[in-house]
């Protein structure tokens, strides 16, 4: 009984710590290591570097990183093409349809290196840490299940329910052209 309680406590502690911890500074070697992802040859899916798992996937589960990602989403003009996830010139995220797969590493690669059909590369505009934060947030927009760490609504005009009320796909009105086939991968 006591062992159960202790292990429960420890589990809660570790889960809580990582979800709420604010890692304000990433050491340059760690940042460099985070940059070396491996991607499948077709650009869809791949594997993040070992250190990403060693850090316990901070950009998917940590509330602070996700909210920083949300800040970057509007700071770096993502809304111009993707709106609040509804899409526009660029594909939507809310429909849960990922042209390059739902893994964070694909999203990271899309932001860092750009993609055909108009997605620019942000390699020279953002740091690796920022790209990871943004990728984590973008993944949250189209998440299939609710993340406890997902951000709430912004203090602005609301165009859709906030990320923490996901999963987004359920709440998204796909409209007349649900999937932009022309924005997909190059065959």
């Amino acid at each position: 009984m006591r062992i159960l309680l202790v292990s429960l406590g420890v589990a809660a502690a570790t889960a809580g710590c990582q979800r709420e911890e604010r890692q304000l500074r990433v050491d340059p070697p760690v940042a460099a290591a985070l940059d070396s992802i491996t991607l499948m040859p077709n650009g869809i899916s791949g594997a993040p570097p070992e250190i990403y798992f060693a850090l316990d996937r901070p950009y998917e589960t940590n509330a602070y990183n996700l909210s920083q990602g949300k800040r970057l989403y509007s700071w770096f003009g993502c809304k111009g093409c993707h709106a609040d996830g509804q899409g526009g010139a660029g594909p939507a995220f809310l429909d849960g349809w990922w042209n390059y797969g739902p893994e964070i590493v694909s999203i990271f690669a899309s932001i860092r290196d750009g993609r055909p059909h108009g997605m620019p590369a942000f390699r020279d505009k953002m740091t690796t840490e920022q790209i990871w934060q943004l990728a984590g947030y973008v993944q949250t927009i189209g998440a299939y299940s609710i993340k406890t760490a997902a951000p709430g609504r912004n203090d602005e005009k609301q165009t859709r329910p906030a990320e923490n009320r996901g999963p987004a796909a359920k709440r998204f009105d796909e409209g007349p052209t649900p999937i932009h086939l022309d924005q997909g991968p190059v065959p």
């Binding site: 809660a12 203090d155 005009k157």
Partner: protein
């Protein structure tokens, strides 16, 4: 135990037999069951007091950590993130987990004794209140240990605490912790109001109620009127964060200042919720140690009531720099200044009491003298910040930090410590040490003033509040170092107090019924009081019953001993109406608290927790109120 004969009257039994019969009827079971099911107001209040002092100690550790960080410019003892959590925790902990609960707990312990009844009204609600309070405190501190404590200040201003800028569950934990402590406080307020209005000893008409009881009554009404504001505010904050309502979103018709209005509509009366019970303690202590009734009883009561009414008319003075219309600000300047009048009335009456009295310099009185010296400073700086132009220069600076510590430590903690020294023999049956008491008083008094007085100057020198550090080129270094070192003196004083209190529970000199020759009813029973408080219900025909007939207590007989019986009397004249039953111990308040805790914590994560969580709450409440076949249910 032998079978108790039904309908046994106290008049049929000789004193030892009467005591045995009452002890059997009113006893709290032993063991874990007894701990969880206890409803005796003294047991609950003792738990409440000990828990609140534990939170005081924890909050003090936080304060020390902050002083360590601020002792030097650009120190790196704490990260800004940890510092923000710590100052938020310090404020929240001291206000919601120490000051309000400890004052109410003193009321829970003393009010039934002072009005001459056998248990508080709604004793099971009282038990529930303690468990909920404990759960709220645990929630906050466990979150702190997990590095997810709130970091948005004890005032949690939106938008910083809102959905966009308050990442994670930190602000939700703060908001829900508020709900826990407010439920606990509201429950106690209801108990105290009903106890004072309906359970007073026969003959204790309104003009014979001890001043401490008056202060608890008035405080409880302030709690009832003020706390709903913060419950609604914190709930709407969680709603904004969790389900996307727009109460505080200006882009969708909400308003940022709405939060501040709601918060301070509660937040300012909150100060008086802490201060008024302390005022009552001061009156009780002065009366006993000046050895005469407090001068101007009616004026004192009127001052208490006036304070409680004015307390609701000055919340805007926390918002003088938010750009509200000037006319409104002038009104709030006038109302904020005017609350100094009832405060002045009370101070003058205490001075008059001491002037015409024959003071005995024991530790409780020392703390009260320390209270007058420091509280007057806090009150006068309060008058200063009530002025709009003055406030624009000192608002959110260390001047205000100094001001409210003078009011809250000087105005509330000093009387509380005096009160602990004063009532400790009643609560534990043993005296605290006079030597250690004087030692702790002087350390606390000197340490407090050395710590907090310089903060006035720091504020005027431009040091804002809530900064985790400052730069070396600011001229604040010397004073900050001085303050940090002085705080060690203050801590030493509290350590002596804690050592004295813990030591005295075991080795203190045994206390008689009335060791201080005090005039009020709590001293008319054994120290510590038996579970039934009074073997026979006292009858009162004066303001100072133990002074009016020294050595002899007038009582009434005719109550049953086989069931928990007490007297319900009329509101104004306290004429006896009913021999009402008081509920027995029950495990259900504990289960109800557990169920409520699960529901409230769950609702931080999903709104559906309110739906599924309310089912166990309902079951627990039905179990609580479902009649059991006990003598108390007879009619």
């Amino acid at each position: 135990m032998s079978e108790v004969k039904p309908d046994t009257r106290d008049s049929e039994l000789a004193p030892p037999a009467l005591a045995a019969a009452l002890a059997e009827t009113w006893r709290t079971p032993v063991g874990l069951w007894g701990v969880l099911a206890a409803v005796d107001h003294k047991i609950i209040a003792r738990r409440y007091i000990v828990t609140a002092f534990a939170f005081l100690a924890l909050g003090g550790v936080l304060a020390l950590l902050m002083r360590l960080q601020l002792a030097q410019p650009e120190a790196r003892v704490l990260s800004p993130d940890r510092y923000n959590q710590i100052f938020t925790m310090h404020g929240t902990n001291m206000m919601f987990l120490f000051a309000v609960p400890v004052m109410e707990a003193m009321g829970v312990y003393l009010v039934p004794l002072m009005v001459g009844t056998r248990n508080i009204a709604f004793p099971r609600l009282n038990a529930f209140s303690y468990w909920i309070f404990l759960a709220g405190g645990a929630l906050l501190w466990i979150a702190f240990v997990l590095d997810m404590a709130p970091d948005v200040g004890w005032f949690a201003y939106v938008p910083l605490s809102g959905p966009q800028y308050g990442a994670g569950k930190r602000a939700d934990i703060w908001a829900q912790m508020i709900t826990f402590t407010e439920i606990a406080a509201l429950a106690v307020a209801v108990e105290i109001v009903v106890t004072v209005l309906k359970q007073r000893a026969p003959g204790m008409s309104l003009d014979r109620i001890p001043l401490f009881v008056w202060s608890m009554l008035v405080t409880s009404f302030v709690v009832i009127m003020a706390m709903p504001a913060i419950v609604f505010a914190s709930t709407s904050l969680i709603l904004d964060r969790l389900v996307g309502t727009h109460f505080f979103n200006p882009a969708e018709g909400g308003d940022v200042l709405l939060w501040q209005h709601l918060f301070w509509f509660f937040g300012h009366p909150e100060v008086y919720i802490i201060f008024l019970p302390a005022v009552g303690m001061v009156s009780a202590i002065i009366e006993t140690f000046a050895r005469r009734p407090v001068f101007g009883y009616l004026a004192m009561v009127m001052a208490l009531i006036a304070t409680s009414i004015l307390a609701f008319g000055l919340w805007v003075h926390h918002m003088f720099v938010t750009g509200l219309p000037r006319l409104g600000q002038s009104f709030f300047t006038a109302s904020s200044m005017s609350i100094a009048i009832p405060a002045g009335v009370q101070v003058f009456c205490w001075l008059a009491t001491l002037w015409d009295g024959a003071p005995v310099f024991r530790t409780p009185l020392l703390f009260v003298i320390g209270f007058i010296v420091t509280f007057v400073i806090g009150g006068l700086t309060g008058v200063m910040v009530a002025s709009v132009p003055f406030d624009t220069q000192v608002h959110d600076t260390y001047f205000v930090v100094a001001h409210f510590h003078y009011v809250l430590i000087g105005g509330a903690v000093f009387p509380l410590l005096g009160g602990i020294y004063y009532w400790f023999p009643k609560i534990t049956g043993r005296m605290m040490s006079e030597t250690l008491g004087k030692c702790s008083f002087w350390l606390i008094f000197v340490g407090f003033n050395l710590t907090f007085f310089p903060m006035h100057i720091l504020g005027l020198a431009g040091m804002p509040r809530r900064i985790y550090t400052y730069q070396p080129d600011m001229p604040w270094y010397g004073l900050n170092m001085f303050v940090s070192i002085s705080s060690l003196v203050l801590v030493a004083g509290f350590l002596v107090f804690f050592i004295d209190a813990i030591r005295s529970t075991r080795v203190g000199v045994s206390a008689a019924e009335n060791p201080w020759d005090a005039p009020t009813l709590e001293w008319a029973t054994a120290s510590p009081p038996p579970s039934y408080n009074f073997a026979e219900i006292p009858v009162v025909n004066g303001l100072s019953p133990l002074w009016d007939q020294p050595g002899c207590l007038m009582v009434a007989s005719g109550l049953r001993t086989d069931r928990r019986e007490l007297i319900v009397s009329t509101v104004a004249a306290a004429k006896p109406q009913v021999r009402e039953a008081s509920p027995r111990d029950s495990i259900w308040p504990f289960w109800a608290a557990v169920a409520t805790t699960v529901m409230l914590i769950g609702s931080i994560f999903t709104p559906w927790a309110v739906v599924w969580g309310s089912v166990p709450v309902a079951i627990a409440l039905i179990g609580w109120f479902w009649p059991k076949a006990t003598p108390e249910d007879e009619s």
